[in-house]
C-alpha cells in the first residue's frame, strides 16, 4: 500500500495537472500544504485505519436552502452531498486512513417514491463512472473500490457500472473505498448465513468465523469510527456486526456541510477513547 508521502506526491501532481488558473493552482497548493501540516500533527496520536460514514441530511440541506424550489435538478442535495463525499474521502486518504466505507443506498431506501429511486440510481451510476475514471484522482491514488450489498436489487445500468468500477480497480494496492448500496446489515448477515450453510460438509457446525468470512466486508478491518451526520443517533442497519468496538459519532452538521474541520474533530474524538476501545477489544479477543 502506498505511504502517506507517496499519496501526497500523487495528489500534488494531480492538482498541478488539473488546476486551470494560476490563482486556483496556488490556493490549491497552499491548502494542500496546510493539510499536510495538520495531518502531521494529528499523526502524533492514533489515526483510524477505517472510517465509515452514514451520509445523512442531503434532502434536509436542499430543503433548508430552498434548492428544490429554485433548481430544475431534484437531486441537487445529493449532488452537493457527493462533493462532500469526494473531499472527505480525499482528506481521509491524505491523513493515512486505509479504508473508507460509505452508506450510499439502503435496501430500506427502495421504499421512497419510484421517481426518487430512479433519480438516485442514475446519480449513482454517473458518480461511480466519475470516481473510477482513468484520469480521476481515485485512480491516481490507486484506490480499490468495493461495492457491498445485494447488487441484484440495483437497476442494470447501475449494477454494470458498479461491476466495471470493481473490475477496473481490483488490482489497485492503495486505500480502499467501500460503497454500501442496496445494503442492510441484516441482509448481509442473512447472506453470510446462506453462504456458510452452503459450504458445510458432513456434520460440521457453522462457527462465528465462518459467518465473518462470508460477510461482504470480509478482509477489511472493522471500522474504528462510524460517523452519522445530521445529529441522528441510530445506525439504521449499517455495519451492526462489524461495529462492536467502533466509536459512534453523530455530529450535528448535515452531510453537505461536513468538511475538513468536522473530519479532524472526529479523529480527535476518536483519539480520546482509543485506549479504552483497544483495551475492550483485546479483552474479548483474549477470551476467544
Amino acid at each position: 500500500m502506498s505511504t502517506i508521502s507517496e499519496r501526497f506526491s500523487i495528489l500534488q501532481s494531480h492538482l498541478e495537472k488539473n488546476c486551470k488558473s494560476k490563482i486556483s493552482k496556488i490556493s490549491g497548493y497552499v491548502g494542500f500544504i496546510m493539510r499536510k501540516l495538520l495531518f502531521s500533527v494529528l499523526s502524533v496520536g492514533p489515526i483510524p485505519a477505517h472510517v465509515a460514514i452514514i451520509m445523512d441530511g442531503n434532502r434536509r440541506f436542499a430543503k433548508r436552502h430552498s434548492l428544490l424550489q429554485d433548481s430544475i435538478d431534484p437531486a441537487s442535495g445529493h449532488r452537493l452531498g457527493f462533493r462532500s463525499l469526494i473531499s472527505t474521502i480525499q482528506y481521509s486518504f491524505e491523513m493515512g486512513v486505509k479504508c473508507v466505507t460509505v452508506y450510499a443506498f439502503s435496501i430500506d431506501n427502495f421504499k421512497r417514491s419510484p421517481q426518487e429511486v430512479q433519480l438516485l440510481m442514475d446519480l449513482m451510476r454517473e458518480k461511480i463512472e466519475e470516481m473510477s475514471a482513468e484520469d480521476g484522482v481515485f485512480q491516481a491514488l490507486h484506490v480499490k473500490i468495493n461495492f457491498w450489498g445485494n447488487l441484484e436489487l440495483l437497476t442494470e445500468p447501475t449494477r454494470l457500472s458498479a461491476k466495471r468500477a470493481m473490475d477496473t480497480t481490483v488490482h489497485n494496492k492503495g486505500p480502499e473505498l467501500s460503497v454500501c448500496v442496496a445494503y442492510t446489515s441484516t441482509n448481509e448477515i442473512t447472506h453470510a448465513i446462506e453462504a456458510s450453510v452452503s459450504e458445510l460438509k458432513g456434520k460440521d457446525q457453522v462457527q462465528v468465523s465462518d459467518l465473518e468470512r462470508n460477510l461482504y466486508s470480509a478482509g477489511c478491518v472493522e471500522p474504528d469510527i462510524i460517523i452519522r451526520t445530521s445529529g441522528e443517533t441510530r445506525l439504521s442497519n449499517f455495519l451492526l456486526w462489524q461495529s462492536d468496538f467502533t466509536h459512534l459519532q453523530n455530529p450535528k452538521p448535515l452531510w453537505p456541510e461536513f468538511s475538513l474541520r468536522h473530519l479532524v474533530w472526529a479523529v480527535l474524538e476518536y483519539q480520546r477513547v482509543y485506549a479504552y476501545l483497544k483495551n475492550k477489544k483485546e479483552g474479548i479477543e483474549k477470551n476467544k
Binding site: 500533527v41 456458510s196 466509536h247 480527535l268
Partner: protein, 248 residues
C-alpha cells in the same frame, strides 16, 4: 533531514496537545451545560419533563461498561428509576456478563423479593426476570454473534432435513424472518430496543446483539458512577419527540 525531524517532532507534539486541550475544554463546557439542564429538570420547573409520553418506548436497552457493572447498587438504583418512570421492558447488557452473574443480588436487594422472579443463570443464554413490575432481560457478548451462529446451525439442520433434489441444486435460501425464527428457536429472540443508553467512557455498543440494533437510537450517558435521574428523564423526553423515516 534528521535535524529537521528532531526539531519538528516536539513542535508537533506541543500542537497535538494543544488541540486536545481545546477538545477537553469543549467537552467541559458541554458537561457544564448538561449539568445545568439536569438541575433545571430535577427542580421540577419545566412541566414538560413531569409527564413523559412513553408510548413509543416499548423496550429500553442499557449497555454498561463491565467495570461499572460491578457496582451492583448503582445498577439496582438505575432499574428502580426506570421502573418509577414507567419503563416496562429493560435489556441490560455488559460485554463480560458481570450482570448475569449478579442477578441474585438484584433479587435480594429489591424491597419485596417476592416481586422478583429469577431464572437460573446460564452464561450463554439471556436471563429474564420481573422486577418492580418491569421485565428485565440480562445479556452479554455471547448472546450476540454466537447466538447467530447457533441460529445458523438450526437453519442448517432444518435445511438438510428438508432437502430434495431441486433444493439441493439451488442451495439454501433464507429470509430475515427465517433468521428471526431461528433465533427464537435457539432461545435468543429478545425484542429490538427502541432506545439504548450507553454508560461508559465511550459511545460504543460493545457487541450488543447486532440483529437487534437496526433502528435503535443510541445515546451516550457517561460513566455509571455519575448517573443522574434527570439525565435519564431528559433522554426519554428527547426520544419521545423523535421521528424516524425508516429509509423513506
Amino acid at each position: 533531514m534528521i535535524e529537521a525531524s528532531v526539531i519538528a517532532s516536539p513542535i508537533l507534539g506541543v500542537v497535538f496537545c494543544l488541540l486536545h486541550v481545546i477538545v477537553s475544554l469543549v467537552h467541559a463546557w458541554s458537561h457544564l451545560v448538561h449539568q445545568i439542564q439536569c438541575l433545571i429538570i430535577s427542580s421540577g420547573l419545566l412541566s414538560k419533563y413531569q409527564n413523559i409520553n412513553l408510548n413509543r418506548l416499548r423496550h429500553l436497552a442499557v449497555v454498561i461498561d463491565s467495570e461499572d457493572a460491578k457496582n451492583k447498587s448503582k445498577v439496582h438504583q438505575l432499574l428502580c428509576w426506570l421502573s418509577d418512570i414507567g419503563v416496562k421492558y429493560v435489556i441490560l447488557y455488559d460485554i463480560e456478563g458481570v450482570m448475569k452473574k449478579s442477578d441474585k443480588a438484584y433479587e435480594k436487594s429489591s424491597a419485596n423479593p417476592s416481586e422478583t422472579k429469577c431464572m437460573d443463570f446460564a452464561p450463554n443464554m439471556p436471563l429474564i426476570f420481573d422486577m418492580f413490575g418491569m421485565t428485565v432481560e440480562i445479556i452479554s457478548y455471547t448472546d450476540g454473534k454466537e447466538a447467530v451462529a447457533k441460529g445458523a446451525n438450526y437453519l442448517c439442520s432444518n435445511y438438510l432435513k428438508n432437502q430434495d433434489d431441486t433444493l439441493n441444486k439451488l442451495g439454501p435460501k433464507f429470509t430475515e424472518p427465517d433468521i428471526s425464527s431461528a433465533l427464537k428457536a435457539v432461545g435468543h429472540d429478545g425484542p429490538e430496543p427502541d432506545l439504548l443508553l450507553v454508560y461508559g467512557p465511550a459511545r460504543c455498543h460493545l457487541g450488543f446483539p447486532a440483529w437487534r440494533l437496526r433502528y435503535t437510537e443510541i445515546v451516550h450517558m457517561g460513566p455509571l458512577t455519575s448517573m443522574k435521574l434527570s439525565a435519564v428523564v431528559k433522554v426519554l423526553y428527547d426520544f419521545s419527540k423523535k421521528h424516524q423515516n425508516y429509509g423513506k
